[in-house]
């Protein structure tokens, strides 16, 4: 798996979420206007899940910056992103991909909700842990 290809494809998949269309980025871009989704770098890559470089495994953080933490609308939007299903559900949308190109399979494992400062403003964020499995030899 090529890291950049996986990150770009995750961002592309997220553009299917109406409120994130055109607002999803395959790198940890900081100058975003909420709502927006950014795919952060995996902290580690697990090589050799199988013999002969057949499979590697990565865990990505997909961060959805929802809105100002003090804004009630941000809470409502957050609810749709962390919902287990629905057109705005990050889990459902990511896991609904049927023919991924840069990887074989993924699972959205969990979502952490937090306040993150961007500049001087506290933004409500949902960080999704995404388990990605794919070929280790770029074939």
């Amino acid at each position: 798996m090529r890291l950049a290809d996986v990150m770009d494809e995750l961002a592309d998949i997220l553009t299917a979420i109406p409120s994130l269309s055109g607002r999803s980025y395959g790198w940890p871009r900081v100058d975003v206007t909420p709502p927006a989704a950014v795919v952060d770098y995996p902290p580690a890559i697990d090589f050799d899940a199988t013999y002969r470089r057949g499979q590697d495994r990565l865990t990505f953080s997909v961060v959805v910056i929802v809105g100002q933490a003090s804004d009630r609308a941000a809470r409502d939007n957050l609810s749709t992103y962390v919902d287990g299903s629905g057109a705005e559900s990050v889990k459902q949308v990511l896991e609904s991909v049927t023919d991924p190109q840069a990887f074989d399979s993924l699972r959205v494992v969990s979502a952490d909700i937090d306040d993150e400062p961007i500049g001087d403003i506290e933004y409500l964020t949902a960080t999704f842990e995404v388990d990605v499995v794919g070929p280790g030899n770029n074939t």
């Binding site: 899940a49 199988t50 013999y51 470089r53 057949g54 499979q55």
Partner: protein, 136 residues
């Protein structure tokens, strides 16, 4: 002389390469022992008998349909005729070791946990001698 990592292990079952789907191979080789103790011995005396071998391969399920996915290779062999199992513990290459034996497939299991990848496990019973060779 050096220690060798297992990541380059190559396993071929009935000519199909399962290496890229597999992450664990266990080999068990045994020999019968016959008690030939007689009067006058102070300790038990044994003599070796027939040898036996068995193998377990574990790995990840693959949804391929081109005839090379583990389930496509293994399930048709279950309960069937003996096939050749080749193991190259240090990988494929000139001068590297190879073990070849006829086996029958005696078990195939799949595990589908809700929070992880589907995995498979296959049990092989060796039939006959193990051929130990060096790859050309």
């Amino acid at each position: 002389m050096a220690l060798v990592h297992g990541r380059n292990n190559v396993i071929l079952l009935d000519g199909d390469d399962l290496s890229a789907f597999s992450n664990s191979t266990d080999t068990s080789e045994e020999a019968d022992s016959h008690n030939v103790t007689v009067f006058g011995n102070d300790a038990k005396v044994y003599q070796s008998g027939l040898t036996d071998s068995s193998y377990t391969i574990e790995g990840f399920y693959d949804n391929g349909s081109g005839g090379t996915a583990p389930s496509e290779v293994i399930e048709p062999l279950l309960g069937g005729d003996a096939v050749t199992f080749i193991r190259r513990p240090e990988g494929t290459g000139t001068g590297l070791p190879e073990r070849s034996v006829s086996v029958i497939v005696t078990g195939y299991d799949e595990s589908q946990p809700v929070d992880d990848m589907i995995t498979f496990s296959v049990e092989l019973q060796g039939s006959g001698d193990i051929t130990r060779s060096t790859q050309a």
